[in-house]
Amino acid sequence: MAVKKIYRPPMDFWERIFIFEAFRGLGITFKHLVLTWFKPGHKLTYEYPEEKRPVAARFRGRHGIRRRPDGSPVCVACFSCQTACPPQCIRIVAEESPDPAIEKRPRSFEINLVRCIFCGMCVEACPCDAIYMTHEYELANETREQLKLTLEDLLDPLEQER
């Protein structure tokens, strides 16, 4: 086992008598006190419910499903996400799409957030870029049933609702 020597600079006389260094330390803490009280950006914490911590652009929160310009979901019920999902929390029921250009659409699209591990594999797997991860992370709920998100929960809000 190699010995690692840490260089500690020797204290000079003024540091060794301690009292002046103590007052310097008091000055440092007082500076932080004044700055925390008066300068908005100095505080290191967030007062959570009112003040939300900014999340990274790639943050993986609750899922969302994009809409086409006409308001219908982009999803074509290809089951890629359901296949890719490691904890198998996605359940899709497909049906025929009325649009002749599109083959299928989801009749129901259910994500069980109790099982979801927020890995983002479904987003990777989606060929249509329909599913994505929102930045919403306040997902607490009272029952397991409420944590099963349906297509309506997942779809982006319509333009007029925004």
């Binding site: 009292i19 103590a22 330390g25 008091l26 440092i28 803490t29 007082f30 932080h32 006190l33 700055l35 925390t36 009280w37 100095h42 505080k43 290191l44 914490t45 007062e47 009112e50 003040e51």
Partner: protein
């Protein structure tokens, strides 16, 4: 003025009760404020807000804490000595409270031919009484450590006993130096000795004794950097590991009361007590009161404005109430101050306003000294046990002895 009011004002009982009221306000009444203050100060120093949810500025928080402490289960560990386990926190708290009896909150004022002072007990060995009584507090701590049947408690109690005894020596030397400087042991006479210009204050007459006294006082109150008896990283919580509910609360409150008494004694011995520099006569203190009242109203208005400023959270009813109380305080102080300024004030009212303004001066100094406790706590790291003992016996004791010798020479030669 009616005769009954004169009887009341010139009764010794009234003055004793008033002094008691001040003492209780600063100890039991002050503890919620002190704990809130400590936590807010800690928060701001550590770049976080501290408790700011319950009530304006989080001022209701300590009441919630007190309720929590009171309704918790009072656990007595198996094998603990029941009597001593119960006695220890009482001893700590009682001793800390008792010391407040001799603090003079104001100077002598004459009222209808009699002389009065806001002081509960005018003992002729004032400061020695405080030293003697507060040393009994170590029994409480040591007893708590021993009676808990817990090795961490025992270690904490032993450390506390060793530490308090070691630092009592240094403290005694610093206080003896001040006895020499002031030629008295009575607290009110010490304050009288500091009359006149600023450099007559004890801290300028004997700065070294001040530093020794403060270091020893911090060790006596078990505060950082000398809080080894309750070092949480080493011995859990030291002597109060096995205490819960209000018994723990007594220890906790006893610590704050002890801090308050230390701050009060420091104000009296080193910072001129209720005296302002250069202000000598009672009449001058009386005429200063309107200006103090105007200062109070300005501060209240600023705080009230800050309370009503919608920051991140909406302004609640509590905030509005708090701001209204502050606004009322400001109005009353301005009105009273203007009244005192413009009207012809009879001599008894001058005496009473002198008492109030002296009390206010004392309180401001007290607040500064108390803040030093909090400030130092969140600045300094805790000392190691050997460092503590080295500081006590090999640094403070020799310096204190040398200081005592030098001071006595200086006093003999008439330099101080």
């Amino acid at each position: 003025m009616p005769a009954w009011l004169q009887t009341v004002l010139t009764s010794n009982v009234t003055w004793a009760v008033a002094a008691l009221a001040v003492a209780y306000l600063l100890t039991l009444g002050g503890i919620p404020i002190y704990t809130w203050w400590e936590r807010r100060g800690a928060g701001l120093i550590q770049r976080r807000p501290g408790p700011n949810r319950r009530g304006p500025y989080g001022l209701i928080q300590p009441i919630a804490d007190a309720v929590k402490l009171a309704v918790k289960e009072d656990v007595v560990p198996e094998g603990a000595h029941g009597l001593f386990h119960a006695l220890a926190p009482m001893l700590v708290m009682t001793v800390a409270l008792t010391t407040f009896a001799v603090i003079p909150w104001s100077g002598n004022v004459s009222l209808f031919g009699k002389s009065f002072r806001l002081q509960v007990a005018d003992l002729n060995f004032g400061l020695i009484y405080i030293l003697a009584i507060s040393s009994i507090g170590v029994y409480g701590v040591a007893l708590a450590g021993w009676a808990s049947n817990n090795k961490y408690s025992l270690l904490g109690g032993l450390r506390s006993a060793a530490q308090m005894i070691s630092y009592e020596v240094a403290m005694g030397l610093a206080v003896a130096c001040m006895f020499l400087v002031f030629q008295t042991v009575k607290l009110d006479q010490m304050i009288d000795a500091q009359v006149g210009p600023l450099w007559h204050w004890g801290v300028f007459k004997a700065p070294l004794a001040f530093l020794i006294f403060v270091a020893a006082a911090y060790a006596e109150t078990n505060r950082v950097p000398f809080d080894l008896p309750e070092a949480e990283s080493e011995i859990v919580a030291g002597y109060h590991t096995e205490y819960s509910s209000l018994r723990f609360g007594l220890f906790y409150m006893g610590e704050y009361v002890h801090m308050a008494i230390t701050a009060a004694v420091t104000v009296i011995v080193f910072f001129g007590g209720w005296r302002l520099p250069w202000v000598t006569t009672v009449g001058r203190y009386g005429s200063l009161l309107p200006w103090f009242l105007f200062l109070i109203s300005i501060v209240s208005v600023i705080v009230a404005w800050d309370t009503m400023r919608p920051a991140r959270r909406a302004v609640t009813k509590g905030n509005i109430l708090f701001a209204l109380i502050l606004a009322a305080t400001a109005l009353v102080s301005i009105g009273l101050g203007l009244f005192l300024l413009v009207s012809h004030v009879p001599p008894w009212a001058v005496s009473l306003s002198a008492v109030v303004s002296q009390l206010l001066v004392f309180l401001v100094k007290f607040i500064v000294l108390f803040w030093m406790f909090i400030w130092i706590r969140w600045t300094m790291p805790r000392m190691r046990y050997d460092q503590l003992m080295r500081l006590g016996w090999k640094v403070l004791l020799p310096i204190g002895l040398a200081n005592l010798a030098l001071t006595s020479v200086a006093v003999l030669l008439g330099w101080i």
